[in-house]
């Protein structure tokens, strides 16, 4: 993979290092959303500081990709290198799923289907407070199995919450198989469209395209969903598109190979 930004390498390196040190998985999911988070945190989200009331809000509804969130929060300077090393250790705030006690985490997540509704409340709050802040929620494609996602989808459209953007990490895979085999989501775009959302589809690893899609205003009263077509395990050839890497940790040899691949041979 030819990275256009050094940070694409950095976030992957951090994800792999944390996962390897802790001996835990969810690596594939974290790599799947890595470029989405870069686009958000480098180009789009207006967050002067994590406790600024007027900051944009971000909900990682697919909480199991928190590895990538911790990495980007570290890159923004809100999680120290020392804290990062505690990932999944005893007495650490950095667990597999993100908790709102962490600077930069607005909402605790981990149970799929919860985040978009909380984001809807954030977006409604912004409008009630006459604030221009915006709200982004990153959900997984399989998360759209949950009925609550569609409750939130209806609500946002009915309330004309044009300040909310849902991002679907569309890697076509879920815990026990391909989404098309488990519970087919297609036609995903037209389903969201029919729920009253403005839909855009982009390459989920093209940061410039993602940033452009996130930052644009719909020009309508519709909420917006960006379907980001991604690759589970993006950047590490032996992980890509393999359900195995939804859960599995790396051994030493795999870690070494993964680092080499994401560094383009420059470890």
């Amino acid at each position: 993979m030819n990275y256009r930004r050094e940070s694409q390498r950095d976030i992957r390196r951090l994800v792999l290092q944390m996962a390897y040190d802790a001996g835990v998985g969810h690596i594939g999911s974290a790599l799947s959303v890595a470029d989405i988070l870069l686009a958000l945190y480098e180009d789009v989200l207006n967050i002067p500081s994590p406790d600024d009331g007027e900051r944009d809000r971000f909900v990682l509804s697919k909480g199991h990709a928190a590895l990538a969130l911790y990495a980007i929060l570290h890159m923004r300077g809100w999680i120290s290198a020392e804290d990062l090393q505690t990932y999944c250790g005893d007495n650490s705030t950095l667990g597999v799923h993100p908790d709102q006690v962490i600077d930069g985490v607005d909402f605790s997540t981990g149970s799929l289907g919860h985040g978009l509704s909380m984001a809807a409340g954030s977006a409604l709050a912004a409008r009630m407070q006459d604030s221009s802040r915006r709200v982004y929620a990153l959900i997984s494609d399989a998360e759209c199995n949950a009925g609550s996602v569609w409750e939130a989808a209806m609500f946002c459209a009915h309330q004309e919450l044009s300040n909310i953007t849902a991002i679907i990490d569309c890697n076509g895979q879920q815990a026990l198989g391909y989404t098309r085999d488990v519970l087919d989501l297609q036609p995903l775009a037209s389903r969201w469209q029919s729920f009253g959302w403005h839909v855009e589809e982009v390459d989920g690893h093209d940061i410039d395209a993602l940033s452009a899609a996130f930052a644009a205003l719909t020009g309508t009263t519709q909420p917006r969903v960006v379907i980001a077509n991604t690759v589970l395990g993006s950047g590490v050839s032996f992980m890509e598109r393999l359900v195995h890497w939804h859960y599995w940790p790396m051994n030493q040899e795999q870690f070494k190979q993964a680092l080499e691949e994401i560094s383009g041979g420059e470890t």
Binding site: F107, S111, M118, A126, M128, A152
Partner: protein, 309 residues
Amino acid sequence: MRKAFINTLVELSERDERILLVAVDLGYTVVEPYQKAFPGRFVNPGVCEQNAVAMATGLAEAGFIPFVYSIAPFATARPYEFIRNGPALHQSAVRMVGVGGGFEYGPAGPTHFGIDDVGLMRLLTGTTIVTPADAAQAQSALRATWDLQGPVYYRLGKDDTYELPGLEGAFKLGSAQCLREGKDVCLISLGALARESEDACLVLEADGVQAGHILISSVEPFPAEMVIDKIAGVSLVVVAEAHVQAGGIGERIGTIIAENGLSCKLLRCNAGREWDGRSGSNMYCLERDGLTGTAIAAAIKDTLQSKNA
């Protein structure tokens, strides 16, 4: 109780613009005064309790105090996990308002019974639970708790006219109200069932049994010290609640008795007989489960007789 609650919420909302009412497509003839007074602060998200509670979590993060209003089981059991991972986990200022505690929606059948709501909420650490006995107490309880930092569950009744004798709207968070003193038995009631318990006390009094009566309207924080003080030296403690045994205050009081080594017998009068497919009025359901004043008094007399036998 519910109309008094909403009217008080209107008063409070005039003073504090953080308050919102999220009526989950229920509350016909009840929520309209709020909607009329604050159209911009009234949200009906439709029939979607999960979304309502999670959305309220998002509102609370931004500084609002949303009151999510529905029928008791739909305010608690239906969106339960979203309460657990939302207001409870975030310790946010979301209020769940459940109308129809006990069997107040009796004819609507078991889907609408509010007989496990308090237990469900008790499982959520840091959640304040308030169960007013009458309309005046619902108002004072709301005034005492609306701006608490963490989540609150209010279990309300529908009756807006009944006044529990001797209560006069008194409420203090973490405290119980002593309605009458008596040396033979100490009766402890959960919220609105105190009305039946008062009747039981009158029946017992006529039979020469002196019953004390304590009202629990602050379930969490629970007035443990006050309960210990009142039941110390009493040989029979009776708990009456329109709630199943599991998770009810009878369970809590049993634990208090055991943990403090108190020497007394505990009689629990609870809801939740095996469902036989037959519903009816609140009074029908209370009778069936042995929760009318007459039934509570009879159970107490039976227990006293067997103790003395």
